[in-house]
């Protein structure tokens, strides 16, 4: 795949989310150099600020950082779960990347979400509707993309569940009766139901036991290789980042402190915080 400057899939520029009422000094008084994301003058919280990066087709980008560093905020802003305070994001398959998707109407955002993106949350309850069966959850995504043929929906859903190694005979059971790992795999099936070019993974393996973690990670890597989906993987777990990602962004206090090739960051971290992060690997 050719990766030149203009071949990007997702371009994010100056993405910012601030809670509360900031003043003109807020951005200057927060960040890693102050070791705080709370503005001392206004008490507003800078969840993330000045986030800029490009993601290329088929590439896997990692975002690491301690909890509260704003890494989840970034993907949730991009998946329209939250409203941005400032910044822009362009998605190449949507109007050739000419428009800021974060400024679109709710209806268009939903179109983008259903056709061009998928999201896997840390907690399956955020991504799945536990009142619907697992098949119904996948059907929701397919219906949102305009498929109203039950037989087609069911065959697609069973193929997805097969791919993610969920027993197909449990398709008409509710995810509430599944184990955590299975719920996570149903969530992944739902996220990739419409073959989106872009997938967000927010702490997908946190809270799963190690053997299940390994299988979920295997699955994600397989999907990435088979389908060539570009992914943004958010994790505080460096081994997940090492296993899945090509490039990594290190965040602290809502800012990017370092970015580069994953191997490079893990072998030779430049920023003091990255060094701390790598050295605290068990």
């Amino acid at each position: 795949m050719i990766r030149n400057e203009d071949n990007w899939l997702l371009r994010v520029r100056d993405l910012t989310k601030i809670y509360g009422e900031p003043n003109e000094n807020t951005l200057a008084l927060t960040g890693p150099q102050f070791n705080s994301n709370q503005c001392p003058e206004t008490d507003s919280i800078v969840a993330c600020a000045g986030i800029s990066f490009d993601l290329f087709p088929g590439e896997v980008l990692g975002i690491v950082g301690e909890s509260g560093s704003g890494k989840s905020t970034v993907v949730r802003l991009l998946y329209f779960d939250m409203e941005k305070s400032a910044g822009e994001a362009m998605l190449r398959p949507y109007q050739d990347g000419q428009v800021n998707i974060l400024d679109e109407s709710n209806q268009k955002k939903r179109f983008i979400r259903n056709h061009l993106m998928g999201m896997v949350y840390q907690n399956p309850r955020d991504g799945l509707n536990f009142r619907f069966t697992s098949g119904g959850n996948i059907a929701e995504k397919l219906i949102m993309a305009g498929n109203l043929h039950v037989a087609q929906i069911r065959s697609r859903a069973s193929r997805l569940l097969e791919k993610t190694e969920v027993p197909v005979q449990r398709m008409d059971d509710r995810p509430a009766s599944f184990s955590g790992g299975m719920q996570q795999r149903v969530q992944i099936s739902k996220a990739i139901a419409n073959n989106p070019p872009l997938l967000f993974l927010d702490e997908v393996t946190t809270g799963l036991d190690v053997s299940v973690q390994a299988r979920v990670l295997d699955l994600i890597r397989e999907l990435q290789q088979d389908l060539g989906i570009a992914m943004i993987v958010v994790s505080h777990d460096l081994s997940v980042i090492r296993m899945l990602t090509d490039r990594t962004i290190v965040m602290k206090n809502g800012r990017i402190v370092e970015s580069g090739l994953t191997d490079q960051i893990l072998q030779d971290p430049q920023h003091a915080y990255s060094q701390l992060l790598v050295s605290s690997l068990l």
Binding site: R110, G136, N137, E140, L148, H149, V150, A151, R154, D172
Partner: protein, 298 residues
């Protein structure tokens, strides 16, 4: 002595004061302009409790004039308690002519049925609606359902139909089957049986819906496309009476009531009382045309 005429009548014509009637009419106009859209309205106090037909009564009293001919049915019957009492009230407050004859009426108020006889141009059909929100079953918050209607975000509704099919082998919705109005809004047609739902499509009459307790009005103007929600391969179908005839008339193509006689035997009878009377008098009433009633398309 000069007689004080102002207080001769205890109540304004049609009970509700003119300003409030005007407000209801204005909301009705809005509802007709946006078919299937639920318009909030004042739902003033009535001498019956909200939830007992106040919505339908508001609509009827707001639009009725001295020349109207009024008919009211409850579950197809002119003679059941709800219908009798409301008929008496409307007649008392307006002195309009009342009738049982579907063809003669200009305003027909109903609870849970559409008349079996075809409706004509100029007739107004008024529904008493208990729950105007078709999405209530899948989303409990009003602000969310309003947003879903605004953005035509109906995936959850469709998933609930899918789930129903998966778990029961059919879409297990009986009365109040959700419909898509004018290819835009999903609407609750009030708890009419599935049998009646196709009769809303391209109807010649104006259909007005009033939900008094929930304070919502909505409408289906004449000649509007009304489609029951169905999948490409799992279709909507009305109640199937398996060719059982009405025990009084032998008629097969009408919505039937199940009766048990004292000896325990089961019988079926045409539910619409006026239609039944006309059949018994050999009056040959004209029925609605829809593709389920006349599969050949005639």
């Amino acid at each position: 002595m000069v007689e004080n005429r102002k207080f001769v009548n205890k109540y304004n014509f049609a009970f509700i004061d003119e300003a409030t009637k005007k407000e209801i009419r204005r909301k009705l106009l809005k509802a007709i302009a946006i078919p299937g859209y639920q318009v909030p309205y004042s739902s003033p106090e009535m001498p019956i409790a909200r939830g007992w037909g106040t919505g339908g009564l508001h609509v009827t009293l707001a639009i009725i004039g001295p020349d109207d001919v009024f008919k009211i049915i409850d579950q197809g019957s002119d003679a059941s308690v709800n219908a009798c009492n409301l008929r008496e009230f409307v007649q008392h407050m307006t002195q309009v002519k009342t009738t049982y004859d579907t063809g003669e009426a200009t305003i027909i108020q109903t609870r849970h049925r559409i008349t079996e006889e075809e409706l004509k141009e100029g007739q107004i059909f008024v529904y008493q609606v208990p729950q105007p929100e078709p999405l209530r079953g899948v989303e409990r918050y009003e602000n969310r359902t309003r947003q879903m209607h605004g953005e035509a975000d109906y995936a959850k509704m469709w998933v609930s139909l899918y789930e129903s099919f998966v778990q029961h082998g059919d879409i297990m919705l009986g009365a109040g089957y959700p419909v898509m109005v004018d290819k835009r809004y999903i609407m609750a047609p009030s708890p009419i049986p599935k049998w009646d739902v196709p009769n809303l499509n391209q109807s010649k009459a104006l259909h007005l819906f009033g939900a008094g307790r929930e304070k919502r009005l909505y409408a289906v103007p004449p000649h509007t496309i009304v489609e029951p929600l169905e999948f490409e391969d799992v279709k909507f179908h009305p109640e199937n009476f398996k060719g059982i005839p009405c025990y009084k008339t032998g008629y097969k193509k009408a919505f039937l009531d199940e009766l048990y006689f004292d000896d325990g035997t089961q019988h079926y009878v045409v539910n619409d009382s006026n239609f039944l009377d006309k059949l018994l008098e050999k009056a040959a009433p004209v029925q609605h045309h829809n593709k389920y009633l006349n599969p050949s398309g005639s």
